[in-house]
Amino acid sequence: MEILVCARRVPDTSENEIEMNGAGNDIERDDLVYSVNEPDNYALEEALEIVERTGGTVTVVTVGGEDDEEILRREMAMGAKQGVLLSDDAFEGSDGRGIAAILAAFIKKGHYDLILTGVQAEDGAAQVGGMLAAMLDYPFASLVNAIEVQRGTLKISREIEGGCREINEIDLPCVLSIQTGINEPRYVGMKGIRQVASVPIPKFDGPSLGVNGDTTGAGAAKVKRVDYFLPPLGKGAEMLEGSTEAIVDSLIELLQAKGGLN
């Protein structure tokens, strides 16, 4: 099976202190470290496991600039056969539809049986997967937390409210957005990254993909960010007091009241 995984480079929330910039319309990006959007790692791991079971190859694609090559290399070190960078100055400022259009144009150039995305980008809106499927006229399933390969179809499990699961059969080719927790992504060591450091990464720009300014770039974006907020600080923690048993009792009461316990 030929699998394409769409990945994205995002600021790593666990390794940055997110602060607003002076203008208040974006976060301070000077001292940020970036990594692969975490749900995308689950998508790649799932792709690698499918290929280990049934054969085929895995390609990883991202839309971005030269800095984004870093995540392609990381995903290649993890086991993806090829990384592809879709890069053009005209892509800058694209909204979700724009990104989906760029990816769709690339996908139409090849033959992929299965296209996986992470459930959402940590700085995104969980929209590209669905739009991409629509543009390709492929079936789509979101929040997938198990995949079983069958002849010409996939049996998939989707997470629905309350931790319940729903089992679907979906025709190939299709687009799936992968929920975290579907697997345990393998570790990518520094040695692996070094070994793929000089593997050439093919680049495609707007003209070579056949996309134009109607759908991509800031000009075509129909969704625009107008403001940014950090969450307001809460009132602080409530310290429970009393004997251990009294503390446990009031904790259970609180959890039940807030719906955390049945």
Partner: protein, 681 residues
């Protein structure tokens, strides 16, 4: 030889002349043994390179101390003393046995008299008695030596069988001598004096009145039994734990000489050439080095390692004893006596589980205890290298490793905040910690390392250390944002490439600072800078600095506020066991007037690990209990209400353990530097 007795060489056994029979037995026995040993050595030939022929004099010294001198045996007093007797007996009997074997094929009589004769009579008696005790001990063994089902079956019957055979060997030897002496007596020839109270002497007494014909039969029969038992034992030992009789000499001679270090990824491959090494670490049995394979053969299954292992003590799925015996069983199974070797299987998922290999805190308690100096940490690290290479790393460890790669610390904190601990308001006003920018403006570098820089609680240890350095007139500074994690536990968790990147960065930063020496309050950083880094200025732990200052009179300490407090010092593994710094911290504590100090039952090189430092803090083990909880209970058992540590990771684990054990208010933990700062005049 008297005419009274036919010698074994002259006698006829079932129509075969003795001389011929014993030639055949000797040759056949030796050939069998040679074949078996050659088969056993086969995997060693396929193992990885290991450089163990360096520093021969030092190795000879180790051999004299730990093999010939049985140095570590008395650490378990009763069993140790028995083993020393047994070992001495075997050494004494070696010459006697060779002479005895030679006798079957020649007419030279056996020299049983004289001093050596007497000593070997006693040696045989001692070995015989030791065997009886050893057999009883295997029948009434301590509960801790039981084999849990998940690790296989106990080999008690086999062990007793082997011990009984050795006892039989001793009896046959004694009967042989006794019947000969008795027959001489009956012929009124000069009676040989067997050693009084020896087994042979007693048998001689018992046989004194036996008919000559019986004596002659006993004499030849005992010889035959001795001969056959000897060769059977020789050829049977390589199939079980008694192979150590042959291999221990080599295991001890080739033992690891440099403590605190970790073996290179591949011996003989320079760090710069590692990019060319395709696969890192141990994935299949043949990825072990030949010395590590030899270790598996040499293990005597005594269980002292597991007895000391903190992971085993808290119910983690790791026991060093079975770690070794499982590998030995694997070698026996996959390198059979007949037929082709069946090798190349993955060890993880085969004989080892991932959790088993991550369960080790690399505390070194097993290695400090093993009488044969068998290595564990290097093997564990090599297996981890293999798992890291294959991407098999628990999710809980992936985050900190990634953060170490991008931010240089496992917490993912910003580099620019590395020196924030020194900017606390009340502190900065009284103690200004300089950040060194390569102007050669300080003699001493205080290497703070990640946890002391970033953890709110541990920052207090950093400030205390700085105050002590400042208060005793040290011209010191820190690297600030230029300091990355020492990488100590990155290396020990198997991520060698990341470790080398961290080391390269820090080495450059330290060299650029132009300092003459380095001080650290973190034993993990201390061990890394001392053993993992190269060409560093001299490194000291703050406890050594303090001890030196106390001795010189530069550090004067006030009496403790509460004379009722009882202090117990907990030896951090990487300060104590791995670096031998046991006395300096105790000396500092004892320099505080009025301080009452007790020792825990497990201290110094038997110290019990707090739970592990570095990446071990992030690992989520399956265990019945926390190591730290066991440790604070040990302190309480010793009568202490204050645990003094000298390591920020011990502090994390101890303070957590005090809470988990519900001992808040009854037990406190304090770092040695914090205590000294409090008592500084």
């Amino acid at each position: 030889m008297t005419e009274a007795m036919q010698s074994p060489a002259q006698a006829t056994f079932w129509l075969i002349q003795g001389r011929v029979l014993f030639w055949i037995v000797n040759l056949l026995g030796t050939a069998c043994f040679a074949y078996i040993v050659a088969k056993r050595m086969m995997p060693l030939g396929r193992g990885q390179r290991d450089i163990r022929f360096d520093r021969p004099w030092l190795r000879l010294g180790k051999l004299l101390q730990f093999w010939f001198g049985q140095w570590r045996h008395p650490r378990y007093l009763a069993a140790g003393i028995i083993h020393i007797f047994l070992f001495a007996g075997f050494i004494v009997l070696a010459v006697h046995t060779v002479a005895l074997l030679a006798m079957g094929t020649s007419d030279r009589p056996l020299e049983t008299g004289g001093l050596y004769g007497a000593i070997s009579d006693y040696a045989a008696t001692v070995v015989f008695l030791c065997m009886i005790v050893a057999i009883v001990r295997r029948l009434l063994k301590p509960a801790r030596y039981a084999v849990p089902a998940r690790y296989g079956k106990a080999h008690t019957a086999d062990a007793i069988f082997l011990l009984a055979l050795i006892a039989l060997l001793m009896v046959a030897d004694s009967v042989f001598e006794a019947s000969y002496a008795a027959s001489l007596g009956q012929h009124h020839l000069q009676v040989e004096h067997l050693a009084v109270m020896s087994l042979a002497w007693m048998l001689q007494g018992a046989l004194a009145a036996a008919p000559v014909t019986v004596l002659a039969k006993l004499y030849l029969g005992a010889y035959l039994v001795h001969e056959l038992t000897f060769f059977f034992l020789l050829c049977y030992r390589p199939f079980g734990i008694q192979f150590h009789v042959e291999t221990s000499l080599f295991t001890v001679f080739f033992a690891k000489l440099d403590r605190g270090t970790v073996k290179p990824v591949r011996w003989g491959v320079a760090d710069g050439q590692l990019d060319q090494v395709k696969s890192f670490g141990v994935k299949t049995f043949e990825d072990f080095t030949w010395k590590h394979m030899l270790d598996f053969y040499s293990c005597a299954d005594c269980g002292r390692c597991s007895d000391q292992c903190p992971a085993n003590a808290v119910g983690r799925p790791l026991s060093p004893r079975f770690f070794t015996t499982k590998a030995r069983d694997y070698a026996f199974q996959h390198y059979p006596m007949w037929g082709k070797a069946n090798n190349g299987h993955s060890l993880i998922g085969g004989i080892y589980s991932e959790d088993e290999i991550w369960s080790c805190t690399t505390c070194g308690a097993c290695e400090a205890e093993c009488p044969l100096l068998i290595e564990y940490i290097d093997k564990i690290v090599d297996l981890r290298r293999g798992m890291v290479d294959d991407g098999k790393v628990p999710q809980s460890l992936q985050k900190p490793l990634k953060a170490l790669e991008s931010r240089g610390n496992p917490f993912g904190k910003m580099e620019k905040k590395k020196a924030d601990w020194a900017k606390a308001k009340d502190f900065q006003q009284t103690c200004n910690v300089r950040i060194l920018h390569g102007g050669h403006d300080a003699d001493t570098l205080y290497f703070v390392d990640s946890i002391t820089s970033y953890d709110d609680r541990m920052q207090a240890i950093g400030r205390a250390t700085a105050r002590i350095l400042d208060g005793t007139g040290e011209n010191f500074g820190i690297l600030g944002a230029a300091e990355k994690d020492s990488g100590h536990d990155v290396r020990r968790f198997g991520e060698e490439t990341l470790f080398m990147a961290l080391r390269e960065h820090n080495t450059e930063a330290i060299k650029a600072s132009g300092v003459q020496r380095i001080v650290t309050s973190d034993p993990h950083a201390y061990n890394a800078l001392k053993h993992d880094y190269k060409d560093m200025p001299p490194v000291e732990h703050i406890s050594e600095v303090m001890a030196r200052k106390v001795r010189a009179g530069d550090l004067k300490l006030e009496a403790v506020a509460d004379a009722n407090d009882v202090y117990a010092y907990h030896d951090p593994c990487y300060l104590g066991r791995h670096n031998g710094v046991y006395d300096a911290p105790r000396e500092v504590l004892d320099a505080i007037p009025g301080l009452k100090r007790v020792e825990m039952r497990r201290s110094r090189d038997r110290s019990f690990c707090c739970g592990g430092g570095g990446l071990a803090l992030f690992y989520e083990p399956t265990e019945d209990q926390r190591m730290g909880v066991k440790r604070v209970q040990m302190a309480a058992d010793a009568g202490a209400n204050v645990i003094v540590t000298a390591c920020p990771f011990c502090m994390v684990n101890m303070e957590d353990a005090i809470k988990v054990a519900g001992m808040e208010g009854k037990m406190t933990a304090i770092d040695l530097a914090e205590l000294v700062e409090k008592q500084m005049r």
